[in-house]
């Protein structure tokens, strides 16, 4: 789960990590007032669920309150397109107004999960403010990593060794040790899959400050953090992805026209692959879960049909112990209330396959059944071509 920069900074501040003074605004007037309160100068930062904002004009310095008003007015409602948003971009609805800071030096600092060691690891670099992946690729010697022992947690002396490697000295180095310990505490207590400060700066006056921050929560741990629900900004998410989330379906919008419903993430990915291989273009990734129920199948099918790009639907359910007649009922229920005339191909495996097929074929829907994955993918592409030729 993603949150905005200002929310990440509020969390960091609650763990005694210093962040710039600032205020979230919803209108250009508020942005102007906030800038006045900060002494007349500010950094105007668009809040969207994506990185790369600076290059897209989403982060600008205002040298007087009226300028903050102008910048904010231009940004509010605008769709910012960055390398992480996709071509349609994300709409700016909140802007963070922050004090300007005189930066002495910049660093990168994060704690994330290292799957290779199955532990949390701390990553630090003296090359802050830039794309850390590029630093890792070109100058790996400038990246310092520390694998954190689950039994002992992060120790002061370990954090100190990193601070010294970053070239920090004296009291700033000790401040940095404390900051790293706080960051690790935050990572555990808030169940984060990533906490990142980039850049972490030492100001000209010699103070550490988290100038930008990013936090991702572990989706599996949301049940023990009710505060997360209120933090979610639904305006930053695809509406179909939101409704899918309500039914615990993993849905991702893609750019094609064949709606896909599959049980299991791995099989769903493989289904997209095989559609592409046969010249089809999937409209979405949708995992109804390994053991989908009739209700879930029906909901999933409705979500697919809500997407206007969808011109055909491919269902691939390897039920195994799931009954195929029940899956068929779910599809008919959902397609029936939408009076769906789109071509549908259903590939099912599991118990009661024949009964399921009979139900589908007798339902009056434009549906065909397939026994194997490849056969089904070919069939749906053929049906679409036929439709296009008739039109």
């Amino acid at each position: 789960m993603n949150i905005h920069e200002y929310q990440a900074k509020e969390i960091l501040a609650s763990f005694d990590i210093p962040v710039p003074r600032g205020r979230v605004t919803l209108t250009a007037d508020q942005a102007e007032r906030a800038t006045k309160m900060l002494g007349g100068r500010s950094v105007v930062k668009a809040q969207i669920y994506a990185g790369g904002r600076g290059k897209a004009g989403g982060v600008q310095v205002a040298y007087h309150p009226e300028q903050a008003h102008e910048i904010a007015k231009e940004l509010f409602g605008k769709r910012l397109v960055t390398h992480q948003t996709g071509p349609e971009g994300l709409k700016v609805r909140r802007i963070l107004i922050e004090e300007t800071v005189e930066v002495g030096s910049e660093f990168y600092l994060s704690i994330t999960l290292d799957r290779q060691t199955s532990r949390y690891c701390l990553i630090a670099s003296s090359e802050g403010g830039v794309n850390i992946e590029e630093v890792a690729a070109h100058t790996p010697e400038k990246i310092h990593t520390l694998t954190i022992d689950p039994y002992t947690g992060l120790r002061s002396y370990e954090a100190r060794s990193i601070a010294l490697k970053l070239g920090l000295k004296g009291s700033v180095a000790e401040d940095c040790v404390q900051l790293m310990l706080n960051l690790f505490r935050c990572c555990l207590e808030k169940d984060c899959s990533l906490v990142e400060i980039n850049p972490l700066v030492v100001t000209k006056a010699g103070w550490l400050l988290a100038l930008d921050a990013k936090i991702n929560f572990d989706d599996n741990a949301i049940f023990r953090h009710w505060e997360y629900h209120e933090m979610q900004d639904y305006s930053q998410m695809d509406p179909l992805e939101i409704s899918a989330g309500k039914f615990d379906l993993a849905y991702i919008k893609l750019d094609g026209n064949i709606g896909c419903m599959v049980n299991g993430a791995g099989l769903a990915m493989a289904t997209l692959d095989v559609l592409k291989e046969n010249g089809g273009n999937p409209a979405n990734f949708l995992d109804v879960g390994g053991g989908a129920t009739r209700e879930k199948v029906a909901e999933a099918f409705r979500i697919i049909l809500q997407d206007n790009e969808v011109e055909a639907v491919f269902v691939n359910i390897f039920g195994g112990i799931m009954r195929c007649d029940i899956i068929a009922q779910g599809i008919i229920e959902a397609a029936g209330d939408g009076k769906c005339s789109l071509p549908i191909v259903v590939r099912m495996d599991g118990s009661m396959v024949e009964e399921g097929k009979e139900l589908l074929l007798g339902s009056g829907l434009n549906v065909q059944c397939a026994d194997a994955l490849g056969e089904g993918a070919k069939l749906i592409v053929e049906m679409m071509q036929k439709n296009a030729n008739n039109a």
Partner: protein, 290 residues
Amino acid sequence: MSILINKDSKIIVQGITGKTGMFHTRECREYGTNIVAGVTPGKGGIHVDGIPVFDTVEEAVRLTGGNVSMIFVPPPGAADAILEACDADVDLAVCITEGVPVRDMVMARQVVADSNTKLIGPNCPGLITPGECKVGIMPGYIHQPGKIGVISRSGTLTYEAVKQLTDAGLGQSTCVGIGGDPIIGLKFIDVLELFNNDPDTDGVLMIGEIGGSAEEEAAEWIKENMTKPVASFIAGVTAPPGKRMGHAGAIISGGKGRAEDKIATLKACGVSVATSPTGMGAAMLEALGK
């Protein structure tokens, strides 16, 4: 022969009185699995289909001799259930539960790694030695006893693979679903090593997906150590970067975890890679030189 489980395995089900636990206990038993006990705190003393239920794993192990635990405990208590199984010194704990918090697993995995217990999962379909023992939620009927080992990060995609193997006349020694989470017990390499040492496994089918670097690490290990042919398939060739495809681990981020890189590394290490998910059985036949 087989790996990890066989006809002599005695299974304990943690979370046996829950809806899912009870359903799959019956399915496993119907397949022929020897389920000796169930564990649900607070329900010790009752029976489920004649299977005695205990309050603790320790008691279940002591009184029934169970050596494998199948875990259906919901996410908030799943890591605790793994630790309890480990503390009771079972040989193998198989955690089917989906949605276990990562922080809990980081600690649980470390404790398991320092013990004699092996862990499979969480968020996995479990494992099966066809014709002998099923500890998991996979459909038994698609399997056939034989000599191919199967390892996979995915659930239903494994069923697809197994069906293709069976259709191609290739039976399986043991099929292991290691799970799709970022933190899991046994990884590809651990299971590859077990198959490599199993005299009754002739070849291995390894099914991976985008995200992480486990497939690349496995490929290097295969090149150095594996004496048996390996075939593979990687799901997500067409997945767009930055989008998490269902599994917590399945994401291409920062240019890492791409399918093409994994496929290239596997091929360079002598693995036969199926380019299409419909060709997994054929890739295994090719690897075996058939």
